[in-house]
């Protein structure tokens, strides 16, 4: 080849790129930039960022029972929970305060894995930039509450499996309760000597489930 033919070949490569950027789709050498604020890529289901609290139906009906397990498991200790008490001072099964500090949270997802009540899950929210890190980035209970429907929307597979599991547990509990009720309704048989079986105890209401 003659002197300078390499330069011409190089020029052809960039010119092809230039033309392709106008007339070709992204998978054939065209532009593959997604102009973010206007257009965005579909979110991956397994993407996880920052936890949220799940409630069923209404926000009062949240799953969290303020057991404090996630706060204890949290490696950077960004979760702060205070249990709610009623007027007589008896503890209730729900948190009065549930704070997560976003500036401290490292998005590890251990809270999700530790929670025995399916109450806390990792979110898809990533546009969390803010001008005030002391107040705006400290998420309180009401900021964290999101419905089960939202969970279904962002992570359909996981949400479906968890709901299935919860339904089965619920049915088992109901069946056990029914069995116990029917047994209680029957007149207690006189205990046979030497064969004292205690009535089957109902399963503990909130047994930790293997995930």
């Amino acid at each position: 080849m003659f002197f300078g033919s390499g330069v011409l070949r190089g020029l052809m490569v960039t010119f092809k790129n230039f033309i392709a950027s106008y007339f070709r789709p992204a998978n054939q050498g065209g532009l593959f930039t997604v102009e973010y604020p206007e257009k965005r890529l579909p979110e991956k289901e397994n993407f996880r960022n920052f936890p949220f609290l799940v409630y069923d139906g209404t926000p009062e009906n949240l799953r969290c029972v303020a057991c404090d397990i996630c706060a204890k498991e949290c490696p950077p200790k960004c979760i702060y929970i205070v249990r709610e008490f009623d007027k007589e001072g008896r503890p209730l099964k729900r948190p009065a305060t549930f704070d997560i500090d976003l500036t401290v949270c490292m998005n590890c997802g251990i809270c999700e894995e530790a929670c025995p009540f399916d109450a806390i899950y990792m979110d898809h929210e990533f546009e969390v930039a803010n001008a005030n890190r002391q107040e705006k980035l400290l998420y309180h209970r009401d900021d964290l509450l999101k419905s089960n429907e939202y969970f279904h929307k962002i992570r359909p597979t996981d949400a479906e499996a968890i709901d299935q599991r919860r339904r089965e547990a619920e049915e088992k509990k109901k069946a056990a309760a029914q069995a116990a009720a029917s047994k209680a309704a029957k007149p207690p048989e006189p205990p046979k000597p030497g064969n004292a079986t205690p009535p089957p105890s109902p399963p503990k209401p909130d047994q930790p489930e293997q995930k």
Binding site: F2, F3, V7, G10, L11, V13, T14, F15, N17, F18, S21, Y22, G29, G30, L31, F32, T33, E35
Partner: protein, 382 residues
Amino acid sequence: MDALFVNLKQSMLNLAGVFLPEWMTLITSMAISMGAIAVLGPVIMMYLTLLERKVVGRMQNRIGPNRVGKFGLLQPLADGVKMLTKEDIIPRNADPVTHLLAPILIVAPALLVFAVIPFGRNMTAVDLNVGLLYFIAVSSTTTIAIFMASWGSRNKFSLLGGMRSVAQMVSYEIPMVLSVVPVILAAQSLSTNTIVEAQSGWMGFNWFVFRPWGFVAFVIFFLCGVAECNRSPFDLPEAESEIVAGFHTEYSGMKFALFYMAEFMNAFTISAMTVTLFLGGWQGPILPSWLWFTLKTFCLIFIMVWFRGTLPRLRVDQLMGLAWKFLLPLTFINIFVAGSWYFASLPVRITSSILILGVSFWIFTQLNKPYVREKRFYDLAD
């Protein structure tokens, strides 16, 4: 349509003639031309930055600026505001006078050369009879300003850039001027207007670039022009990866913007001059003359941007070698070919000139081959 701007200026002058004495209309005429150039230069520069960023972006599979205004059309204005409001830093040890003067002195010649560019039929601001000489002389003073900037900054990178710039300018000035000689021979004039008119005929396609010597001269002139205005791949004076930013390392804010302005206006004037000398200037069928001129000029500017998007920077020795060992002898051959062009009949002169130029091209490439040492074998190494 063809005389749109000429008529516009004439009507403005007629309007002024109603109120003003005759000597004042002369001054008004000058003022209109000066004002047009003073507005045109910076506006062209601003939109060349946008064009360059867009085109290079596309070549690199990016979109380029598109946030400010539709298609990023207001991006140059945003950049201008940013540049104006930036802090102007002068190094403590710098020579303040030189440091201040350099950006001003570099913009002045870049604007001055607009005076002799024929933007269209009867659209040359000043029809100098030595227009081409004026262009070459004024545009080469850029070197002094660049060297002032580099020396006045008192920074080693600046000085290195300035030294490189001087070496490069001095080397490339020679083949650039010599490649113009065939055109002067053919047009028998140094006036840019006459040179354009010498290329009329053939439905407006009787351009010098369609002759063998014209083509060679065109390529050499354009390459040297790219080197003259410090554009990639000849951007050694401001090589980012080697010497920070070269001669404008110590400049910020509007002074830096002035350097950029000079660079882009030089790119425009070099393209405009190449069009004038070789591509028939404003000659062309159907479309109005100024539109033809603009189209051709922007084609050449696109080629400059294309170079920048494609080619890596040359080494200093490669740069010097290209100018002195390749382009310079080729221009001498070219002058000879152009001179003998008029002494032979058509078939003879075409074949002979192509033959001479081709053979000399081949010889120079052979002579310029880099020395590659033979592969050595070490028989007793093991």
